[in-house]
Amino acid sequence: MIAPDVHLTRRRALQLATATGAGLAAVAATGPASASPKASSPVFRHGVASGDPLPGAVLLWTRVTPTPAATPGSGRGPAVDVGWEVATDPGFRRIVRRGTTSTGPARDHTVKVDAGGLSPATTYWYRFRCRGTASPVGRTRTAPAAEAPVARLRMAVVSCANLQAGWFTAYRHLAARGDLDLVVHLGDYLYEYAPGEYQARDVVVRPHEPAREIVGLADYRRRHAQYKTDPDLQALHAAAPWVVTWDDHESANDAWSGGAENHTEGAEGAWRARRAAAQQAYAEWMPVRYEPGGQLYRRLRFGRLATLSMLDLRTYRDQQPSSPVDPALSAPGRTMAGPEQLQFLLDGLAEPQVQWKLVGNPVMIAPVRFPNGLESRAVEGIAQLVDLPVPPVAGVPYNVDQWDGYPAERAAVLSHLRDRGITDAVFLTGDIHSGWACELPADPLTYPLTGDSVGVELVCTSVTSDNLDDILGTPPRTATLAVETAVKVNNTHVKYLDFDSHGFSVLELTEAGAQMDWFVLTDRTDPRAAAVWSTSVRVPAGTARVERAAGRLS
């Protein structure tokens, strides 16, 4: 084991300590994960992973490279058998399940095994064998039985990991914790851009492969493969089961059912073909119970404590309005979820026998109105952050790629919560490269007086992707502080906002409450960056209120 090597520039550390109120004592260790895989073997170059845990089963994943020619996206290499084992100990003395499956170039030599016959709420270790080589060992954990009481559920919440914009140290710090029941990834697991198109301000920290915008199946496969060679990403995959959904960049920026902002129909082929390629690669390369042509949205249950409804808000949505003042915005039939998924969401929220109703919600649902009185550069910076073609004006929704662009459908969700007196609904959100904690007003007009809230939204920041200080070109926690204050003053349900930081969040659920901790990286472009505790909020059970927590989770 390598001793922690905390690399924290004095200037950045002081900025973080000042901004967050946290001392340097809060700097987390940066040692490798306890369940981190051993050095890559030639056959298992892309690590191992698990996902979508059920009480009696968990999905296991790996990718094999049986011959040097069988590179990702190549379509070459032989069909091979891959053995798998699940044990109750890391030394594999008590193997409880084993089997053999086959893979080949048709699925880019990826392997997905639904390992069943397991016990609920149990930690397992797993590995694969191929051509006489054993894979690194992964650790996973099954979900509690459906009716079981659960004292505690702790999960990482992450999104927006742009390899070109930095190092995945956020994943490394999470892998080192050892206390996670699962990892929830809310999308933008990878980015479609070519080198130089989207990176860390002006710096390409690590260039994308292939060195072009990805549009075809081989491209998407190769990009997935590149991400999965990252040792920090491999470590976190090997440390806990993941529950994932995609946002837009797994296919193309601002995707909708008929296209995407970053797709040129014709020149880049047909959107449907591009999306099908992206979705096939996703199904092959991610530890998820999803196959091409199926539905990604699904619900996992963790005893009586929680359900987690993972949404797909790209496949079924109508096109985004052209701007926040587009009259089409308020058309009653506009959809982001699609009618069937919307009903799936509403049904899950109304489940009476489960306490916490978590929603894996790729884009923000809390209404955010653009504030008054900002400098023009800040206004332009926000427009860039949210991909608006024109700077927004005060009073309009600031980001129409979010639920703000689909107000009728959002009203259906929020009124469902209010009309039925549903409690303990928590939306976990990514996409926007910033940390937020919001209440969801029962009635926006009377909320400032009554404070009546029907749920909460907790937004994790980006692992690496640019946010406001990056776009403005200003030091962290300087120019953006005024913007954050203005947003909060104009949107009193926004209780916490950090437009600058990169990092990750950890959410804990108990019967008494939910707590989310935000951790921020000292420098996303530093492969040895530390993670500093930034803030924590608590949602007492039954309240739909966001409060400042007394301290971080222990």
């Binding site: 306490q355 007196g421 009377t446």
Partner: protein
Amino acid sequence: MSGGVLDRRRFLQLTAATGGTVVLSTALGAPAARATSRLRVYVLVVDGTRPDEVTPLLMPRLHRLRTEGTWFSGARSLPVMETIPNHVMMMTGVRPHRSGVPANSVYDRAEGAVRDLDRPSDLRFPTLLERLAARGRTTGTVLSKEYLYGIFGERATHRWEPFPVLPITGHAPDVATTDALLAMVDSADPELVFVNLGDTDRVGHSDLTGTSLRVARTLALRSTDLQVGRFVDHLQATGRWSSSVLLVLADHSMDWSLPTGVISVDAILRSRAELRSSVQIAQNGGADLLYWTGPAARRDTGLAEVRRLVAAHPGVLSVHAPRELGLGPEAGDLVAYCRAGWRFSDPEIFANPIPGNHGHPVTEPIPFLVAGGHPLVRRGVVSGAPARTIDVAPTVGALFGLGAPRGGYDGSVRKEAFSGLR
């Protein structure tokens, strides 16, 4: 009351601590109070209180009980979210299709009239009050509302008839109710007392600032909290606290609507005279019960059409067959719920002018806590268990070692609040 009733009770006139007079009636032959160390259970209903109102600022005494005992963060009222059915569910542990009490107001087909379910004969299932009494234990009711006193009648060993009853609201103020509670505890010391404090509900109903500032409601909450605190102090001062278990909960919560948020099924059906003349409406604030009284041959098609027309109103949340909600034939043929911020007003559009209402699903979340000095009570627990009003009877029954009634309970023992309760 019939003259025969007088034969089975005696009256006790007491002077309350606040100087008023309290008159209690007691069943003849009731056992005398026993040692101070025996278990006492008090079920206190803070009528119409919302869970988010149990805060250190608004209700400091309740909040202290909540933090010192077990708080059920996801507790809910059950259909129809009205006072009488939920008090009945608390004391019977069974759903309305078994008790015969689905709502406050029903259309009585035999009498051909809409009326409150406020008669002892309306309640067809044995309650804890008489089941415990049959086992030699003493029980008491201190219910602030006339209709609650009416339906529970003489089931308890010791009863207080609400007095003075305020005009219009039909309830006794909480200070008078608490006077009576203290007097009953001091004089008869029943092992179970079932208490309804009606101020927060009654003031909430009439609070014209309910959708925003809730001025009057806030004052009522503080006043009710004072009375709960007064009772706790009294138990402590008289040495009863260490043997006491308190279940404090609401029967439903409260939602406020503006005059623009009114639904009238009468108005919806007015253009369809053949339907309107075939339907009777029992209005319950946030829920309307609809009864088909037209020709039997047209019942199914007629009800389907009524359902379609009512469900199309923007303020209507849903329309149900009563059995979907655990309700029996007393609830009629259709139950319509309104959305949050709406209310029903029937049989005329002006029949329900009050801004605060309940009965619809937004009023399901309730405060529900278990506290007290008894060693069984767990301290400082927050439970997400799905506690319901209907759980009171099984829980209290279990504390006294009383078995389930014939056919079993529909509710559950809330073991989360106790150490070692089986």
